[in-house]
Symmetry: D2
């Protein structure tokens, strides 16, 4: 599971690129290990794709955007895949409907694995060329970061699929329990002023992180760690789900329509306490773990109840730009835990990266001067810039090398199936 | 494929019953042969269940209604299956939601096959008893007829699942083409009068076929064979799908809402002609085959266009009660064709049994004096007696030993995924 | 309110026809008396039309089907009305969408009343002709019976509209209470045999009542009177709305989806008892009145709970063909009560006509040999012959001269806003 | 129509307040003049309320938030109104469901007018007090601005209601045509920097405009006037509604689902050109008028097609803070035109205020340090701060005294029934 460690992040020389390619591709396959062909076909909702589809789509990305462009007269592995595994790139042509991805028992899982192998071989040939043009190298790098995003989705989607099975299957065995230290949720203050956010360096970034630009921030304070289950249980016990005055109007309507009484995957019992479905199966809710699988609406209501507010993405990024201490790193994909863990003891900001994505109160909008990438890959980010809120910081399902302070994740305010949690601000 | 031939139909002695049990169970498994675990998990709509679920549910039926009752202190193979594989028997307790059957990657297909084996072994032990009580024998027989119904559903559901895959997978290879003789749709007349319908003999029947009772019939005529694709194409060409005056009001609303332009599975092209998805893959529509996959609404509109009407179930049954000639037998499951075939030459009623179910204009209602069976199996039929129309005669997916003149099938008027066709009456 | 008494039913000579015309038209207007223009615009659901629309549509019927045909070069009162007030006659052309009838603040109520006057004048001219052709006279008669149907709808639709207003407006003052005698629900038996039903005489009938034809009936028994509120309350108290085994499967799904706990318009309280909205405003449920505003699903579940069944339409008609005693007549529109009343003391079948429509367990289907009327009026009945159940006997909102033993009313099984009740059979 | 001119804007002394009260209330009634009771009952969609409801709700606001608080032992005009005319104030108690407002034929329009009179009398008594406490005066002022918002909604909602009538009723006669000068859409540049936006002065503002705060702006350019119909027609002609690459992903899905081909109220013909429904009836689309009734999605797609972008709310407000020239004022409610008019000749920013609301690319979010008002009126704005976009500048239906540079309007991105248009930025 250590294949794609941050120190082997996608780099710049051809050899480094090839190494990164192999590492990322292997990590994806490692995530699918132990899953049956049936498991990999599940699709529990339109938003959550089958694991097999992720395996194929990430491969399609390299075939469509890299090999087709790089290899004159390129012959695709299977012409039907162009449509079957296109996610949403209108510029590439027709797409198999998203809610129907679970209908693809053919090609089989074995055929999709063979597809991966074939494309990997062809990519290896390409990456062995000493003079890979910069634009192709950039597309390969984009494809790797794209695949890392899908690694997280493999886990969050699978969790959703499995949660619909009354047998509550465990994806991975539960790791040995660690003694959790209770960590208070103290406030850390920041001065703000005219700061800079966005990606400005030479490493990789998505187009939506650019350009780096100035933002004016008033002084603010952040909680040292995300809200815990114990704290969230107090919100529930105080009638948090019954008091419309705590909620945004759309949030309250959603809560009523969906019948929400607790975060996604939570259930009463067995016994008097709350349990939740995890990738280790059904477990009792642990008080010191960060609460997760809450929507923006719940995060916002919690913050209002707590006399606080959610942070803006600029506040988060400004705070996260200081050199990260060890403490600010939480659980990431490579830890192989696939579940958020309690904050570490110590001082300063903890779990800024990892464990749970933090809902910000910033709508997902273009930065001043934003320009989408050229061609069909320009559909990657820009066309989703409405009706979504930004999340920051990564989760226990995010690869370490995939994160950076300028990274912007985004989901609609009602989404709950990501490892999404809450950090308070004042 | 000959295991459950009509001559070995469910009988009465214990040995005969055990033989019938084995034959029916093996026939189910033969239908699933060649399908991957992924194929068997597909669920394309709430009405159509995964093949794996059919394999398990038919087994659940024997475990729940026979073994639990017959064996004191019976220990179920897996207590979770009681809920997972209950279809709609409220009397048995909770049910896994029907639209979520495709979410059950666990238990795996192999585990479900093992479940079948275990229950078969236990049933073998039970059926070996020399003094099996009559009520248990009757439940076993019910279970076998129940499983035969699911054999047909395995095929019709799988056809629907596969049809959603752009690759149009073939379930079975296409059989060699036979030279079709054109058979005219002549009218055969019947006198009617005070006739009897319903099941009255000593063989098996479902509760909804009983009691046998008197019905008054005016003289009527029936078409010698079902409507063919060629005839239906003339209806389409004459604007059949564009003329509301031909349709029932609900039918026209459905046609508009669903955008129907032709029977289910039909598509324009490749080329100028109509093709349709079959269990042999995509094929050009053959003119002399009976039209199928039409709804009641389409059948009714076609009949109106043709200056005829649909037959009533009493008319069908009265006509079918004469000793069946060879000609009146059409294609059945055992033929292994899984697609309706053209009518045979000759005279008299043809294809009364097999090829396509025939929509009658009779609503599915209780016969005078109807009494549902006792206990949870009483939910088998009676509670569906509203909003459905009766179909008669069986199809190319119906086991031969499953049919009889009194057999009543029923579906809502908008249903199209069964092998449902049209026989005209006057 | 006595204008259109049964003794002045639509007859045959021109003078009689003109008299009937005036009587029916005046009765419609009398029903709208006291309603404001706002009241007459209300549309609470797509199925229930505004009173103003009923006033206009019944007039449109005479203009479109009679005047346009009878008067060469006829100039319509307003060409736009042809579309605005067409209900569902595809043969007449486009229709204003049914759910949008409440959007027609223009033409105003005054303009619609003027429209009525103008058409009445023109009709008077036509009806004054000594030699009115038979086909025209028949269309006039059809239009009068059509208008009588809409008189009932004016009341049932208005009740639905008003029920959505928290002020619970009273349409008419409550009549003085009459002392109700408790009448037991005894069974009356009938021999059946080969009987005749359907309309065969020379008076008016709708096409769906024809032809008169033979039906075989086994012996049966009917309850002397409809089920009362007291009896229905016992069903509720016995968990009738909580026991799926009492319900048809579609009925139970509907009950869950709609949250039904009692008949339409019923509510708990004020106080511990049940109240219901009536056309006299909010009233406590009276035990001896017939229960009404139940769906077919509820009627069927009640009958199952009571160890009985619903009657068939042939049973009802056979029983109703005996010369009606005074007792068999219940409350009708002309009584001006607009609410069902308790059964009268005495013996024999009571309330066969009036008070509440009786759900039969017969699906609404064509009689053997049914032929719809020629032309667009052929859409009147035939195209609705699917997914509906037959009701018999009329209600407290049905004009007396509109009813006869062969009369078939029909509604979908979930419909509750008509004055629909239950008579048990065995 | 000049009653509530800007010079008589809600002020501070009791006499001024009383004057403003009378002016605003009279203006509301003037808007309803000429409408029938039926017109005032129409509700064409849940978002658009009946005019009668607006008349009552604005009165309810004064009764609930001012009189109940100011008058000890206050007896409401009708206790039922508290619930009937509550819009969304959970803190005030139950509300009549929004989609059911059109069901309230009672109270009648006359009764609602009487309600207005009674409350106006009581308010007059209150406002005549020499020592009206500041908090009450502030609530009165809030109520007046609230009522002005509803004046705009009276017009936009009525337009929607009337548009559903095939007769296309004219609300007001069409004013004489003015010769339009073609005005080019030149760019005006602004330097930006660390600017201030939000309300900071002593006049009235809503809580969502506060606090005034610093924002960093990069240099930007704005179009001198909104996009015209002629320009938008070029977008349509260039396939703007057929090219997904121009649209946000959610926007494209909405366009497909709703079948949008042009702005709301537009239709092809009569004749080859585009016509649209206006408050003067059906009119041909005039090329030099600002395009309106477009959603955010259409505004965004148009801007992308034009090689530009939408402006941010901070950019708009910064540009609008300069002392308004006469030219920057467009058509407002008091002009009595109720339809946007072509830009005036001249130079500088035109139509910054009036004619059409301008969609900004800013999500509607709280300003840094935002605090909602205390009590139930705190629900006025804050709870809607998600899933909406900000519009700026007012329209031809906005009262002049209601606007200011800091004013924030907001609607979901799919909303089209406001007078919403497009100003480009670069």
């Amino acid at each position: 599971m250590s294949a794609a460690s941050p120190s082997r992040a996608p780099g710049h020389g051809p050899a480094a690129l090839h190494g990164a390619y192999r590492a990322v591709r292997e990590q994806t396959e490692a995530l699918a290990e132990g899953l049956s062909a049936e498991d990999c076909l599940l699709q529990s909702m339109p938003d959550a794709s089958p694991v097999k589809w992720h395996l194929a789509h990430t491969t399609w990305f390299f075939e469509t955007f890299v090999l087709e462009r790089a290899v004159p007269g390129y012959r695709s592995v299977d012409p039907a895949y162009r449509r079957l595994f296109n996610s949403y790139y209108v510029g590439v042509g027709e797409r198999h409907p998203r809610p129907e991805r679970g209908m693809l028992s053919r090609p089989t899982l074995d055929e999709v694995r063979a597809y991966r192998c074939l494309v990997d071989e062809r990519m290896a040939g390409l990456l062995a060329q000493p003079d890979l043009p910069d634009d192709l190298a950039a597309l390969v790098e984009l494809g790797l970061h794209h695949e890392q995003q899908h690694q997280e989705l493999v886990l969050t989607d699978l969790k959703h699929h499995f949660s619909r099975n009354p047998l509550a299957p465990a994806y991975r065995p539960r790791p040995p329990a660690v003694h959790a230290v209770h960590v208070a949720g103290e406030r850390l203050t920041f001065l703000g002023g005219l700061v800079e956010i966005g990606h400005g360096g030479c490493g990789f970034s998505f187009d939506n992180e650019r350009p780096r630009h100035r933002v004016w921030l008033e002084p603010y304070a952040l909680a040292a760690r995300p809200v815990t289950n114990a704290e969230y249980l107090a919100f529930i016990a105080d009638g948090g789900y019954e008091r419309p005055e705590l909620w945004l109007s759309d949030g309250w309507d959603t809560r009523l329509r969906e019948g929400w009484q607790a975060p996604l995957y939570w259930q009463r019992g067995p016994g008097p306490s709350w349990w939740h479905y995890t990738l280790h199966g059904l477990r009792e809710v642990a008080p010191d773990e960060p609460v997760c699988h809450v929507s923006y609406y719940e995060a916002d209501a919690y913050a209002r109840w707590a006399g606080a507010r959610l942070l803006t993405e600029a506040e988060w990024e400004h705070a996260a730009q200081s050199p990260p201490s060890l403490a600010s790193l939480g659980t990431l994909l490579e830890d192989g835990v696939f579940h958020p863990r309690p904050a570490a003891a110590g001082s300063g900001l903890r779990q800024m990266f990892g464990d749970v994505w933090e809902w910000t109160c910033s709508a997902y909008l273009p930065y001043p001067g934003f320009r989408p990438a050229e061609g069909a890959v320009g559909e990657y980010n820009g066309k989703f810039m409405v009706n979504q809120m930004v999340l920051r910081g990564g989760s226990c399902a995010t690869p370490a090398s995939h994160l950076r302070a300028s990274y912007r994740n985004f989901f609609p305010p009602q989404a709950r199936w990501q490892f999404s949690g809450i950090r308070l601000a004042w």
